[in-house]
Subunit: 326 residues, 2 copies
């Protein structure tokens, strides 16, 4: 096998975030599920945006965030995802390229606009997301680059890709190509509601195609339909080679074969939890690419997550490596 | 005279900001004048954006920022400025409307895109701006609403409007309409380089059409081509009814007839000085609309500026009135 050209290839929904702070009452007034991610159509997106206070726009998308952060931490990273040929698509492309991520996917011309995620953040830092998928829906098998997948040590997929049907197909195909090339496949479960929507497909994929699994407590409990973290951890341990399970301020638990490592959360000021899980996966995978111990992988994940939680937006503004210096 | 329907009507270049942190070396590498605002064409905008690190987008424009902040502080505010019928135009319109500002200007269809300002912020918090005016260039007399000007207690103009030729014409016309209706005209000098580009026109306008002038130390010294703040203050005192001169961390000096009030700067953490002068004018004019003393006007200006300086972006993210509670 050739040495990998990229440490990490991410495949995900390419999204621009619109973030605005709100009071808790805003959530109940607009029938929102606190902390969740809901898919919305054009009409609901327009109505919700009209109701939101002034915001800030920045590039998002779960795996795209992880790719940007991993690149900031020195990993060699590529990304596949679909934007439109419009202004927000240009913003997405600029931002991911400016972190040094190779992003070869052609934009969608003449179709739906670039996907956007309307994110409202309550004073406790919790984010509630509503996603209009737009151009991301058209990501399909034709956007996969088998040579690129074969050149990447880890192909990292987000659970959100189960939502757009053609992306779901491409998603499974990408995992097959990676394994055929002797590479690894990582998956983030993304969101407990997303797991609920596609539980059977997730269960099958986790069992048969995933080498490294990222999930938070709600997601892993939803996957196995159990009520305790312990039961969920036992279940995943028997199915996946490597699992990194995050528990917010309770830190994370990493499981691999006979190893079970608990990593403490990094103390931080909670401003906006958007992107915390994405940054954890980025730190973990950046350290994993350097062959570090599971504990070191978890610690870099925790530190990257802490940096992102202390600011508005899912990707660190500024030099992350300087921020993480002691 | 009828009571005013609006406390403040702003007229300015409608711009979306793209903000990114950089090191000082970035400025010298790209021949930038630290702290200045330069006008750039499409080609330079594309080259500069390509060189910039990942950023955040948010609504900007000097007087538009002041209008948004004044509305957050409870003033009744309207705004006139030209965006295009595109995605960034929709962001600008959403954000200013969401603060409660009346924004009736029709978008430009089929022409240049919405204006954008590429802002790089060095670790000392200083912002250096490069503006592509796009659709803002097409703001003209047809966009003025004489009835709206007549219903507004203060029409507030930004010096940057001297740059687009048709806006410059509209700008003078707006001042005439306001005075014919018995209302007041306020002007911000905007930028020392802008003053240098249009000094004679500024001098004439300040003398003949301005009731309330906002300027920082560099701008007022450039206007009168003097080297000391004291000389500049004496010169402006003899020409304008009310002048509010800001001096960064040295606070501000307010001059009106026999009154000369010095106001201290509000202590704050300097993250990004973008919009500091705009927020000062907003706080000043919001208090002025309530008939407060010059000292109280200056203090609300300083407090609004301090809130904006402590974050990335020119407009406060969140509830400004809550932020300013003691």
């Amino acid at each position: 096998m050739q040495p990998a050209r990229f440490d990490l290839l991410g495949i995900g929904n390419a999204i621009v975030d619109v973030v605005a702070p709100v009071e808790h009452a805003f959530l109940s007034r607009h029938d929102m599920t606190p902390g969740g991610m809901s898919l919305i159509d054009t009409e609901r997106a327009e109505a919700l945006y009209a109701a939101m206070p002034p915001g800030q726009e920045s590039s998002g998308g779960s795996v795209a965030n992880s790719c940007a952060v991993a690149a900031m931490l020195g990993a060699r990273v590529a990304y596949l995802g679909k934007v439109a040929d419009d202004e927000l698509g240009a913003v997405f492309r600029h931002d991911i390229a400016a972190t040094g991520v190779h992003f070869p996917t052609a934009p969608l011309v003449g179709g739906a606009p670039t996907a956007r995620c309307l994110i409202v953040v309550t004073p406790d830092g919790q984010r509630t997301m509503h996603t209009y998928l737009g151009a991301a829906v058209s990501f399909g098998e034709a956007d996969l680059d088998p040579a690129l997948i074969g050149e990447s040590a880890v192909t990292y997929l987000e659970g959100y890709l189960f939502d757009p049907p053609s992306a779901q197909f491409a998603f499974r195909r990408a995992a097959e190509i990676a394994h055929a090339a002797g590479r690894q496949v990582a998956l983030s479960l993304s969101d407990a509601f997303c797991v609920h929507r596609h539980r059977a497909a997730f269960r099958e994929m986790v069992r048969e195609q995933v080498d490294i699994l990222f999930a938070n407590e709600a997601e892993i409990c939803s996957l196995y339909e159990v009520n305790s973290f312990g039961e969920a951890a036992d279940a995943v341990h028997s199915e996946v080679t490597l699992a990194a399970l995050t528990r917010s301020e309770m830190g994370s638990v990493i499981l691999r074969g006979g190893e079970r490592v608990a990593v403490a959360a990094e103390p931080t000021t909670v401003v906006d939890t958007t992107g915390a899980g994405d940054a954890f996966a980025a730190g973990f995978l950046a350290a994993y690419a350097r062959g570090e111990t599971l504990g070191a992988c978890g610690r870099l994940g925790s530190r990257a997550a802490a940096a992102v939680i202390a600011q508005y937006g899912a990707r660190p503004l500024g030099d992350l490596r300087t921020m993480l210096e002691d």
